[in-house]
Amino acid sequence: MRIRTIVAIGAGLALLSVASFAQAVKPEDNQATRAKGKQVYERACLLCHGVNGKGDGPAGWFLGRYEGPRPRNFIGGSYKFRSTPSGELPLDQDLFRTVTQGIPGNMPSYGGLSEEERWQVIAYIKSFNHSFKGAKPTALPLPNPPGPPSDAGIENGRKTYIKYGCQKCHGDNGYGDGKEALDGNLKDTYGLMVSPGDLTERASLKNGSSAQALYRSIMTGLDGTPMPSYADTIGGNDKDVWDLVYYILSLSQERP
């Protein structure tokens, strides 16, 4: 009898704790959506990003202590992770990707929120920055990667890596130990020191580590950090960009 009671209580508790998975399309960005997004924000985002979206939440200071990156300032801060040209606002899909995937080493994935909740909170986050009102940011073209990389292509990527000075920050072998990094010259727009990505450690790349994600990072840059956009330089030569992408990917395979 006692065992049955315990099992029944356990089953009841398990049932109570199981909630339905909401599968939703992107809701319309209106007052009701933002109001729901505010509730999600206050539960999930406020502790780091602060009640007013300034990135000054009570837990925000500890993320980098005296170093960057700190949590995003949604009011006026520039957005790192975009598919749009440098200096422009991100697409909603960019924000959705960041919320869903998180930022390795800094922000956990919020895939645990329902899709609807993620869209709602994005609508609310955008309300902090008036520039989003009426803005129609446009994505840079993001082509599909060409066929499998060749040795010659990777060698060309290595030359491109050096030609455009990637090694100054990322180091000769991509460990993120370039001279500029070691000299402490790399700072974000808040004056906080930032570390360049370790290209040999794919999981640590904040804007994603797929070939397309690397292509995107090279072309858009990471605004607010020393990582510039190369759209106006290397961007005219798509082959060089892809060779560079494959060279970067080869660094993580070659790591002992």
Binding site: V40, E42, A44, L47, G57, P58, G105, N106, S109, G112
Partner: protein, 458 residues
Amino acid sequence: MFTRVSIFVIALSIFCGTVLTSLLSPEEAQAIPAFARKYNTNCMDCHTAPPMLNAFGQRFLENGYQLPGTEDGGSTGKKKLGDLNLDDVNQYLGFRLVGSAVRSWNFKQQNPPGADAGVVENKTEFTFPGIFLLYASGTAAKNIGFFVDVGHFVSGAGAQVDRGFVTFNNLGSHNLAHLRVGRFDPNAFSSYGTVRQQFADIGGSQKRGCAAFTPCAFNRVGLTPSAFATKFYGLYDRSGNALSPFASSLFNSGAETGVDVHGRPFGDWFLYQVGVLNGASENVGDSNKGKDVYGMIRLDYAQSDYFSASISGFVYQGNSNAKVQTHEDVNWNRYGLSARATYMMVDVFAAYSVDRINKIPTGVAGLFDSTATGLTIGADTYVTSQTLVSLRYDNLDAGGMLNQRMSTSFIDVQVKHFLRANVAIFARGDFNLRQSEGGDTAARNLRNTFFSGIDVIF
């Protein structure tokens, strides 16, 4: 104050620490301990300085090891058994190794009357490690979490499960009620938690071979936070073993078996917690004729400007949870307040508790002070990006048998240097503020201590 040999060893340990620091390249840790690995994030998402939690980490804990505002257990924890690999396992397993490589005790009088021979001696010794903890925790499914913590005190015998419990979260609606069942830390959610201290617990040393229900002298007082301590002299467990006035107990025992519920039904500003316990912690013993009950509320302010603050109050009602030397049961209760404020690199916290024996047994009437209080005030602050300085003040106004009780006041200082976010070396000193008051009891005899060691959480 320190002997010449002590000074040499302390200097040597500081030198070794400095060399170690210079050899190990300091860097920001990325995703090392289990939860950080699981979420591919930084230790500092949840901690002010490990093991102390920041506001985000606190809400993560309250939510049954799920990200605040989510019920993500299922999305990160669900996998077919055959698909599991080591990467999955290490998202649930972690360990902590903390211990002093060198420690030094300084007493006013060596081997005073009543103390065990050879225990109370001014000495500096090498000793490592002190405590090894292995834990497994996470979410078994959406809104179902678990935690198991196996501790091995190297100086003691064997290992034991310190805590082991299951959580059922977000019952009814989000954040309405979270249930814990098992052996857990009752004081995990108040403003000043019991087990998350920058200062490792230094237990007292009791004279060996004392007969049951007889006064038992102490060789050395303990250095636990006074607000959490037992505070009474002349209390015994049901076997007649004298309880240490310096051991953490009741709401602050760190591990008790029972059931409790907590939640934030009115928003982030208010937390409630109620629970029922066996009240039979090994630390304090219990005749366990009835269950102990407790309730806690906490008010929070955590919105912006890198600032958070909270204040908490609790009531713990014991039920035949100790005995006096006449073998009679007593109801031993605790009432307490705690508060904490964190602004950028500064973290300040305090706890004050009053312990009361509600009805003094007739056998010790007139011989027993039924009230004792403990005050602990602490502060941690980063002085560089990797160096944390901690201060703590403790005052214990002891109660219990009038002919035994002795109050204590200590101040503790610690410098902890984080080589990585999860690896730190530390140097610590504790100073008896009442050493000039005279007497040769343990509370007066210990003058100061020094500890230096390492704290690794992986």
